[in-house]
């Protein structure tokens, strides 16, 4: 948003109801240059890109989907404020043509904004399948706005939409509000007149009047701030509507918009018989079946994770071997004790760490996720798991980031994006922190499994799951935000668009490259400098209160820092600082258990921290980190006393 004043180029904003194919449309034209930006003062983000249309460069913005200019969650709140207060040259209202009637309810509200607008009838193929034929010209003349038809997933009509929009952007006149029925219009007019009389100033008076009548708290607050006492006064007008209709005023206006949309719909659409799309219903019957549905879901998840991990492991080995050989090469050129060697080697390690996470794990995973998302499977999964996850105080979709955590916490935290409510997102990402990522898994298997036996590793993993469930329960009880329950559209299945899936994957990988990777490299750099300066002892002394509390050898102090910077290094460093791989000669089995429990739960690694700040904001990240540190110390301390009973 910071570019709003400096960018003289045309600014087009895509808006539409969720699942209307808006982002598909965006990705068709935006390409690799798109960036996701946070709204000012919110952790909700939107995507924008500079796009070349003909000989003009325009700024294209993809706002979060919204049903109405009355916001019901932070994402729609941010989108609404953007529409109300930012400079916008042209609104492209994307509409799911197969749900034209309901979609027009948003269009009618958009008309109140008084901005130049074009209507994009997307997914006309889906509409045809449902037997709906739409007369675009008629709709255009009724709305007094240009109407285009597209099938965004196939790229059909997209070019025409944008070239025409850009060409006429400056000459399209702002949209006029659609007249509602007489009694509602009278109420609106009285409110507008009253606002004018008492000097309640707002550049979209009609919109404000409607929203005040609808009792939208955001606009009431806005009015009260500009004119103290406004809320009291507006009640009179609301009551006028309520008495005439025997319904709450917001319901009256909503019904009015609904009726108006129906009227428009019947005027422009011909509904014939739906052509056979029975196979879609059949697939849905299976996917949402009370038994088969779960089997398929588990199979999909299993395949997803196995293919990612298998492919990851398969690719990671040669990649690591390659970098190891580079490192060996370096050792030939520079003395192993020299500063140059330390510096170069740490940079190489940070770089290779990134490569060995991104290429083998993150890329295939994000690609498959984007695919599953694009087809429309996620809402169905949420439908199936909602009943169970609800007991944890979360919605069904939260299961995905949790499972993902077993690979790497970074994509897990990124995957919480599919959760819309901030509270749920916070809980899900915090829980994801405690899921042992592959690096911590190495520790569990390589330390506990190897030195104490596989059974202990298994029980530790099981205990970890129990604790995660416990934390979930506690966290959701601690923030007992009224859980409104699920209300979610289940969109029709669609064939995935290659371009869209790739664009989504790339956009997410870019986040990793820009945020997590540099942190990984910095971490490596810091570690090697510590090593070169022989700061180990000082650091060990610094951590001695903690190591004493947990009854661990003082030497492991250093590995605790390493665990924050690069979790996968903690085991390696343990060997290095103990000076032996015969851990049992220097640590008791109980100490090994305590150490593992501590590393398992404490602080996210630096890369995760960076991504979390990006996704949730600094405050929540610090909160989650503090929680994990507290929990790790407490659990490890408990282990110190409980483990001797079993070991």
């Amino acid at each position: 948003m910071k570019n709003s004043s400096s960018a003289p180029c045309l600014r087009l904003v895509l808006i539409g109801q969720p699942n209307c194919g808006k982002s598909t449309l965006f990705n068709q034209v935006a390409g690799y240059r798109s960036i996701s930006t946070n709204f000012a003062g919110a952790t909700v983000s939107f995507t924008s890109s500079l796009v070349q249309i003909g000989d003009q460069t325009i700024e294209l913005i993809d706002l979060p989907g919204l049903y109405s200019l009355t916001a019901i969650d932070p994402a729609t709140e941010a989108a609404k404020q953007f529409l109300l207060f930012e400079k916008i040259d042209l609104v492209v209202n994307v509409v799911d043509a197969s749900l034209l009637c309901r979609s027009l309810e948003l269009t009618l509200q958009m008309a109140e904004l008084g901005l130049p607008m074009v209507l994009c009838l997307n997914m006309i193929d889906e509409a045809q399948r449902k037997g709906v034929e739409i007369d675009g010209e008629r709709l255009s003349s009724l709305l007094c706005a240009p109407v285009f038809s597209t099938i965004a997933s196939k790229g059909i009509g997209v070019e025409t939409l944008f070239t025409r929009s850009v060409k006429y952007a400056r000459s399209i006149s702002p949209m006029h509000p659609i007249t509602m029925s007489k009694h509602v219009e009278t109420a609106i007019r009285s409110v507008v007149d009253w606002m004018k009389q008492c000097g309640l100033d707002f550049d979209k008076p009609r919109l404000l009047a409607i929203k005040l009548l609808e009792h939208d708290p955001y606009y009431l607050d806005l009015a009260e701030k500009r004119l103290p006492g406004a809320v009291e006064k507006i009640k009179v007008y609301q009551q006028m509507l309520e008495e005439a209709h025997g319904q709450p005023s917001d319901q009256v206006i909503s019904a009015e918009r609904h009726a108006k949309s129906m009227e428009l719909f019947e005027e422009v659409a011909r509904v014939g018989s739906r052509s056979s799309s029975l196979w879609r219903d059949r697939i849905d019957d299976l996917l949402m079946h009370p038994i088969v549905g779960y089997v398929i879901m588990l199979a999909v998840l299993y395949l997803l994770f196995v293919s990612v991990f298998k492919l990851g492991a398969f690719l990671e080995t040669p990649i690591l071997a390659f970098f190891q050989s580079l490192s060996d090469q370096m050792a030939l050129h520079w003395s192993v004790d020299s500063f140059t060697y330390h510096l170069l080697n740490s940079l190489l390690q940070g770089f290779s760490g990134g490569v060995s996470i991104v290429l083998p794990y993150l890329f295939p995973f994000l690609l498959l996720m984007a695919l599953i998302e694009d087809i429309g499977y996620l809402p169905r999964m949420a439908f199936l798991t909602d009943g169970i996850m609800h007991r944890l105080g979360l919605h069904g979709t939260a299961i995905i980031p949790l499972l993902l955590g077993y690979g790497c916490t970074v994509p897990a935290v990124m995957a919480t994006r599919i959760i819309t409510r901030p509270r749920d997102r916070f809980i899900a990402s915090t829980l994801a922190l405690f899921v042992p990522c592959s690096a911590r898994m190495t520790l569990i298997l390589g330390l506990v499994g190897f030195y104490l036996g596989g059974a202990y590793a298994f029980w530790l993993l099981l205990l970890n799951i129990v604790i995660i469930l416990g934390i979930g329960l506690v966290l959701s009880r601690l923030s007992p935000e009224e859980t409104p329950g699920m209300i979610m559209e289940i969109p029709a299945f669609q064939a995935p668009g290659v371009k869209v899936v790739l664009a989504k994957t790339w956009l997410r990988i870019k986040d990793f490259i820009v945020i997590a990777w540099p942190l990984l490299i910095l971490g490596s750099l810091f570690l090697s400098i510590t090593e070169w300066l022989h700061w180990q002892e000082g650091i060990n002394r610094m951590f001695s209160p903690l190591t004493r509390l947990l009854d661990l050898p003082e030497k492991v102090g250093l590995t605790i820092i390493f665990g924050v910077l690069r979790k996968e290094l903690s085991m390696l460093m343990l060997f290095q600082s103990l000076g032996t791989t015969e851990v049992l000669t220097v640590m008791t089995p109980v100490q090994i258990m305590v150490f593992t429990v501590f590393i398992l739960f404490y602080l996210p690694c630096l890369a995760t921290f960076g991504i979390m700040v990006r996704e949730l904001g600094m405050r929540k990240t610090l909160l989650a980190s503090a929680l994990s540190l507290f929990l790790a110390i407490w659990l490890a301390w408990l282990t110190r006393f409980i483990a001797p009973l079993f070991l």
Partner: protein, 85 residues
Amino acid sequence: MMREEKILPTLNQLKVGQAATIVAFSGGWGLRQRLQQVGLHVGDIVRLKRNAVLGGPLLLTVNQADIALSRCMAAHIFVRVTTLS
């Protein structure tokens, strides 16, 4: 109207395959907004398409859209059953 609401069934009491007309909402402003925004208005005809297990949501068809709705929200929607199946 109040007396009528008491004897009317709520949406969560429908059987799979049944269709019904929405008569009234019993929740507050927030609930009404959320329902109306996804296209559930008084007077609309809804059909219960599917029930999820373990207290999961209902799947409704309304105006050609499929909507998953939790049971507790559905309990706030009074309906008049229009078909028996």
